[in-house]
């Protein structure tokens, strides 16, 4: 069950570059949340009406941790919040990953797609293989936290400032990483090539998608992706049918 809740800011800090870490007290939404879901965060401003969809990085009892990147005026407002401030959020939105603890897992995160994989790794028991990729060192977050869970962590940056020089899928190929199931989140182009890799290696590949949305609950039909339907395709909603889809079902463009 989704709800709208006034959340209290427990902590808000800048991790690196323009990436922020926000912990909110929101008992109703936190108690319902599962890994891979997101919350809609309202700016409280009449000129910035639409909520900003932000993935859930960690579920901590009656709190949620959100790790997000400042990409515009809305997220800039969030970055200026401090202890005790309040903001309205709606959630939990969408369907999370289909977790299967019986099967070996490979988690692949690109850029600001990394955060939702932390709770996913936790709930899979920690001992998973994780590939974290970003443009550059400053944008590659949470590496130590995955390691603390007991995960085997690989990193890649486009500029080689840390880890493997190249993208996530190139790293997967070089290391010949395999598992039963891939859980992933990141830029569309990464998810597309990751899906191709998964098909080649005969792996299941859950991808978490993103698209511009207005309502976050399936009413406005704004945030669509093309999903295969027999010989044809249909538009499915990221917010309600997703954000997690099986990579094989997505019509990649």
């Amino acid at each position: 069950m989704k709800s709208v809740e006034t959340a209290k800011v427990i902590s808000s800090r800048n991790i690196t570059a323009n990436i922020y870490d926000l912990v909110l007290e929101c008992p109703k939404i936190a108690s319902e949340a599962v890994p891979g879901q997101f919350v809609e965060v309202y700016t409280g401003r009449s000129d910035l009406l639409l909520a900003r969809p932000i993935s859930i990085c960690e579920i901590l009892g009656n709190r949620l941790r959100l790790v997000y990147q400042v990409v515009g005026k809305g997220t800039e407002i969030f970055s200026k919040l401090g202890l005790g401030d309040e903001l309205r959020i709606l959630g939990p939105c969408g369907n999370g990953y289909k977790l299967n603890k019986e099967k070996s897992a490979l988690l692949v995160g690109g850029g600001i797609g990394i955060p939702p994989l932390l709770e996913t790794a936790k709930q899979l028991g920690g001992k998973v293989t994780v590939v974290l990729a970003a443009r550059t060192k400053d944008l590659l977050v949470l590496e130590d936290e995955f390691a603390k869970l007991g995960a085997k962590v690989y990193t890649a940056t486009d500029d080689g400032s840390v880890g493997f020089k190249g993208n996530a899928v190139e790293l997967l190929r070089q290391e010949d990483l395999k598992a039963d199931v891939i859980y992933s989140c990141g830029p569309k182009i990464m998810l597309k090539f990751l899906t191709e890799y998964a098909i080649e290696k005969n792996m299941e590949c859950q991808v978490s998608m993103e698209e511009r949305m207005a309502c976050g609950i399936g009413a406005c039909v704004g945030c669509v992706v093309k999903i295969k339907n027999g010989d044809d395709w249909e538009h499915k909603k990221v917010c309600k049918d997703g954000p997690v889809f099986e990579g094989r079902e997505v019509v990649w463009e």
Binding site: K2, S3, S46, L49, A51, A214, I217, G218, A219, C223
Partner: protein, 300 residues
Amino acid sequence: MNTKVNICGVEFKNPVMTASGTFGSGREYSEFVDLNRLGGVVVKGVADKPWKGNDAPRIAEVYGGMLNSVGLQNPGVDYFIKEDIPFLRQYDTNIIVNVCGHSIEEYVNVVKRLRGEDVDMLELNISCPNVSEGGMAFGTDCTMIENVVSAVKKEADKPLIVKLSPNVTDITETAKAAVSGGADALSLINTLTGMKIDIYKRKPVLSRKIGGMSGPAVKPVALRMVYQVCKCVDVPVIGLGGISTAEDAIEFIMAGAAGIAIGTANFFNPTATVNVIEGIEKFMLEHGINDLSEIRGIID
């Protein structure tokens, strides 16, 4: 205190409805509001066959509002009859079906298919700006309006609302054309055409470049048009366009609207409909208004 209104013989427990395309068929918002509270649910546009809609991105935020270019994605009238009517009928609220089509024939097909179905009213969508055939193409030319409205009216077994586009020079002309075609009521406004450009990517934000603007920023335009139309036709008018609060709704009622609809406000406040209903009741109580007819159309 009486918030009831009667529109074309259909009784509404209050004048508050939902704007088509912002509330699905009520399922999503039933987690946030009791649909029994609403005067009516105007469902998302229904066509004779499933429509895929436009490519993403379909949404852009603009100052005080948003643009959309959904393109009337819908699963078709058969699905609507099978799934949505039974869902909505669990609630004590009126069902108003927004009817869309690419051609007169398609509009007529939907209305024929809905004959005998358990719905309360029909709303003819001749004002969507996001489809290349039908929609607004029908709703900005008076002769076309009269033709499509009269063709649909012949087949309709429920009162017919015609939803007007604000993208015209003189809204009173298109309003009169709809009424002479046989409209039992009018609703206005649909979205205003608008655009947003991403200056860093040097391209429009919406895949279809131009979309429909809605939200609080369009309210003064909508109110002006509702006021003008109420002065020139004798049929009931449902006012919408940026209504987000009870104060907004009361402005439209004072301008002459028999009913009002909440659209984009649902997106930034999922309980907007019920908030507006409660706000209207509070206003009536505080100002000694026993029936909305006491304030309806009081603006000269």
